[in-house]
């Protein structure tokens, strides 16, 4: 990568208005922040604060009404190759097996998948703990396993940036914690700049270097909080007094936001 200094992602006074005239809804108003290389940033906020819109703006799927998004100093005008996305639902394709789903982006973009790419996909499946399931049908997998496949799919072209839109919110609490620790392991093995959208305070604190707290209607940045908990983070982190203190702080912030 030529561009090594400065922020990887920068938002300059981004606003997003949907609809026109009287029906117009301001989803985001004047959002600015920067994210550095290999930083793990959580975006926390109540429903309707424009978190998902923010993610789509960074992915280049939506154009901001005003302001701009820069990746490596270049304004984002269309989807870029440096980005991998994991959605809230796994959205796997039932007509491919697990391996076929992981390699789908290549097949979809270039029309073919080489043998070495297939091997890479198998490596990714081992990375997410599904080495033995390469040839299973996707509907034979549990929700957590399906989301692991979706993570492997997003990592296939080795993107510098991983955008995750509440990826664990549909999972049960136990699976969710397990997925969080696994994501941290994956992130330490393959460092990436990660934006992780969530409405769970615990998830945000456990995973991130910084948590951006959003307020709603219109969505804007309320606070950017450094999460200075030591890494690697483990189950023990959850009972750290500092974790509890930060958790309380964020909770009171979010409750205040929701009160309006």
């Amino acid at each position: 990568m030529v561009y090594m200094t400065g922020p990887v992602i920068r938002l300059n006074d981004v606003s997003q208005v949907f609809g026109k005239h009287n029906g117009a809804v301001t989803a985001l108003a004047g959002v600015s922040f920067e994210i550095g290389r290999h930083e793990f940033v959580a975006i926390v906020g109540p429903s309707g604060c424009g978190k998902s819109t923010l993610l789509r703006l960074i992915a280049g799927l939506v154009k901001p009404t005003s302001g701009n998004v820069e990746i490596y100093g270049m304004p984002v005008t269309e989807p870029r190759d440096e980005i991998g996305i994991v959605f809230q639902r796994p959205t796997l394709l039932p007509w491919f097996d697990v391996l076929g789903n992981v390699t789908f982006p290549l097949r979809h973009k270039y029309g073919r998948v080489s043998e070495s790419e297939r091997e890479q996909a198998k490596d990714l499946l081992s990375l997410v703990g599904l080495a033995d399931f390469a040839h299973n049908r996707v509907d034979e997998l549990s929700g957590g396993m399906q989301q692991r496949v979706a993570i492997a799919r997003a990592l296939l072209h080795d993107p510098d940036i991983l955008l995750m839109d509440e990826p664990f919110s549909a999972l049960d609490a136990l699976t969710r914690d397990q997925m969080s620790f696994d994501l941290l392991r994956i992130w330490s093995e393959r460092p990436k700049t990660v934006i992780f959208i969530t409405h769970s305070i615990q998830e945000a604190l456990l995973l991130s270097d910084r948590a951006i707290i959003m307020s709603k209607r219109p969505g804007s940045v309320r606070e950017i909080k450094d999460v200075d908990l030591p890494r690697p983070r483990t189950v023990a982190t959850l009972s750290d007094p500092h974790f509890a203190a930060m958790s309380n702080h964020l909770r009171s912030q979010l409750l205040e936001i929701n009160a309006f």
Partner: protein, 266 residues
């Protein structure tokens, strides 16, 4: 423990009965029909007994049956195939281009709401007396559900998959071929099942208007001579044909697209 043993026997009998119920119902209806015809001495030209119908069917030469079956079947199949070949690309076009859906869709609704029986004679006059007008009539009655169902399936694709496709900049053709069309497969096949019976209806209507062969023609001709047992025999053959045809798309789906079936049906 004798009570539990007899219990399991009883359970077996019950489950066997449960499997047989549809067949038993069918047999019971036929029996009531037969008995009613005999007891009340219903005239044959009003309602022939099942035994009389079966006799009439076997009295007719096999060649005549085969000729009539083939005449109806080839029109139904041709209309069905043309309907598929037109409807699926049409649905793709309607979903892809807003302009087309604004201009073509109202026209399609007009065609669908026109009673095909009413325009069948006009089509026969316009297109002559070959198989062509019959295939056109069959097509007109068959295509609409396939268009609507396919379009619904193409639109039902999860938005995340479309976003995934757009984030890869794969292009709209690949989005359609790799994501939307496969996603529409269950929708397409449910309409293809309905379309089989519609295509048989279309072929029969066409024969009512103008034909010298086919099961619809056979039924009408027999009725005009008051040969009701023959007319009913024709009807039985037609229904059997229609039911067999109905099973074809189901078998094709299970063979080529097993993933598109609900888990319990695999």
């Amino acid at each position: 423990m004798p009570s539990s043993a007899s219990n399991s026997v009883w359970r077996r009998v019950l489950s066997f009965m449960d499997k047989l119920t549809p067949a038993l119902t069918f047999v019971a209806v036929i029996a009531v029909w037969e008995i009613a015809c005999r007891v009340f001495r219903i005239p044959v030209f009003l309602l022939p007994a099942p035994s009389v119908i079966v006799n009439a069917a076997f009295d007719q030469q096999a060649g005549i049956w085969l000729g009539n079956i083939w005449a109806t079947l080839r029109v139904a199949i041709a209309g069905y195939v043309v309907a598929i070949a037109v409807s699926i690309p049409l649905a793709v076009a309607l979903v892809s281009y807003r302009f087309l859906s604004r201009t073509l869709y109202p026209a399609l609704v007009v065609i669908q709401t026109t009673p095909i029986v009413a325009i069948a004679p006009i089509i026969v006059v316009t297109l002559g007396s070959s198989d062509l007008p019959r295939v056109v009539i069959t097509f007109l009655i068959t295509f609409f559900p396939i268009v609507v169902s396919t379009a619904t399936g193409l639109e039902a694709t999860p938005p995340e998959l479309i976003e995934l496709s757009r984030s890869l900049k794969a292009g709209r053709v690949r989005e359609m071929l790799h994501i939307r069309l496969p996603y529409a497969v269950p929708y397409i096949f449910s309409s293809l099942k309905i379309a089989t019976t519609l295509s048989v209806i279309g072929a029969v209507i066409a024969e009512f208007v103008a034909a010298e062969r086919g099961l619809g023609f056979y039924i009408m001709f027999s009725t005009s001579l008051f040969e009701m047992p023959k007319a009913f025999a024709g009807l039985v053959v037609l229904v059997t044909l229609s039911m067999l045809f109905f099973c074809v798309p189901k078998a094709v789906q299970a063979w080529l697209f097993p993933w598109s079936l609900p888990k319990s049906n695999r």
